[in-house]
Symmetry: C2
DNA sequence: CGAACGGTTGAGAGAACTCAACTGAAGTGG
DNA sequence: CCACTTCAGTTGAGTTCTCTCAACCGTTCG
């Protein structure tokens, strides 16, 4: 797979994600609390969007951050030649647009995959509000920090995991993201095509399809109805274990 | 390589990097300016470290950010089993520790690869200073934003580029990082072993070695002395072109 | 001098990709 | 209402790329 400097374990093992069985009472509470604070302090403009709607486009001047209150977004890095690369998936409570601060322009397209509610936060207004509300700055830093960690984990997964473990880690993280938000994680609809999943994971759509078929054979997942997009995950921890085993494999 | 949603070009093409021929007068000025501001506002504690020294370790409680004033650092994600993964390389002007804000603990080891000067910035002090100096907050946000973008670009490269282009992109980015800091970019010493480069890029050390040999044959690089770590890059733009071509290859 | 280490190179194996055929579902127009 | 098309998905066969295993070289260091 790649060069081993020393033995490694599950690279996708994000501490917060590996504790999916959070007390039901607290499930999704942190995220909701933060949203409420943002709401009261900033009174952001709310906006309902539908699948396919684009919040910002690559190249546009940066001015706003966006906070997802519901729904699902994908971030697409679009090259000059028009090829697209999925570089991120955003759930409720996630911010969009952090990457644009440094360059003063968005570097990707933010596309809704669903009916969603987006809160619009003018960046300069946010900065002013930060001066008045110290808690705000910490929330923003925490969100950026999380994004950095998530990217880093993805990078590690990409460089250490074989195809099947990558797909499993993807499912695991998706389920964990839902669980974090208090949504049911044992059964959900992937809203991406095989091509999009493959694009995101650095695999071909055929490989993704083959892996999913294999996972069904191995009973790690099942599909509801013939749609083949509604996944059931009978044993969440088995996913993490699969990834771990697969990563451990090449340490002899 | 991976699923194509639409045609793509060079994924490593980071706008700021693709303009390496910055006016000599301004070269490295932005970074120096920011360092100077931090220095005057925060008066951070300076610290000289040597190759192999560790600034923080995975698992330690988060309390400080670190700003690199000179030298080179690597960030190592270390698993429970002790296997290491290079997840980042830091140059002068780069911050270390952003990833730790969210979880309150560092998730990787920061290891000096060189004699280096590190500035120590207590995070709570930084937050207080931000309230007084609005410019400071923008600098920090910009640094975090840059890190997000860099990770995202690496992810794209990992998922779209074949082995040779990945190595070339790595050299290109290294040279660009040096150029950004006013250092000579046409000739420099890679301070990583083949194993470390491979680990970072998700390749084996043998593949890295083979690619480098091929690049020498194709005159994209040369080595100084038999050390095989001192690289000459006769034509910087040729590197970007190589990556671009290699990425464009699979769009038929 | 011998051991350890970084690096190079070759041969064979294995993983993922490409190309291609096929299915089923959904949508369109006659 | 039913051909016809399109699109997502599955599966197979062959190819290609990268990895694994191995031998070997040169340098450094005890």
């Amino acid at each position: 797979m790649q060069t081993t400097l020393a033995p490694i374990e599950a690279p996708f093992a994000r501490p917060q994600r590996l504790v999916p069985a959070a007390p039901a009472a607290a499930t999704g509470q942190r995220i909701a609390d933060r949203l409420r604070l943002i709401e009261t302090v900033l009174a952001p403009k709310r906006r309902i969007v539908h699948a396919g709607d684009v919040i910002y486009r690559s190249g546009e001047a940066f001015s706003h951050l966006y906070l997802l209150n519901s729904g699902l977004f994908k971030l697409l890095s679009v090259s000059a030649e028009g090829r697209e690369q999925v570089v991120g998936l955003k759930f409720r409570g996630d911010w969009m647009g952090f990457g644009a601060i440094a360059k003063g322009a968005y570097a990707c397209d933010a596309v809704a995959m669903d009916t969603a509610e987006v809160w619009t936060v003018p960046y300069d207004e946010l900065l002013r509000a930060c001066a008045a509300h110290p808690a705000l700055i910490e929330i923003v830093h925490e969100a950026m920090s999380s994004e950095i960690m998530r990217d880093r984990d993805s990078l590690t997964a990409m460089s250490t995991l074989p195809a099947d473990a990558r797909v499993v880690a993807f499912l695991h993280d998706w389920a964990a993201a839902l669980a974090d938000r208090g949504l049911r994680a044992d059964q959900f609809s992937l809203r991406l095509t095989r091509a999009e999943i493959g694009n995101y994971l650095g695999l071909t759509l055929e490989t993704v399809s083959r892996v999913l078929s294999k996972l069904v054979r191995e009973q790690l997942i099942t599909f509801n109805a013939p749609s083949r997009r509604d996944v059931c995950i009978p044993d969440f921890d088995a996913l993490a274990l699969f990834v771990q085993r697969r990563a451990a494999r090449d340490l002899h």
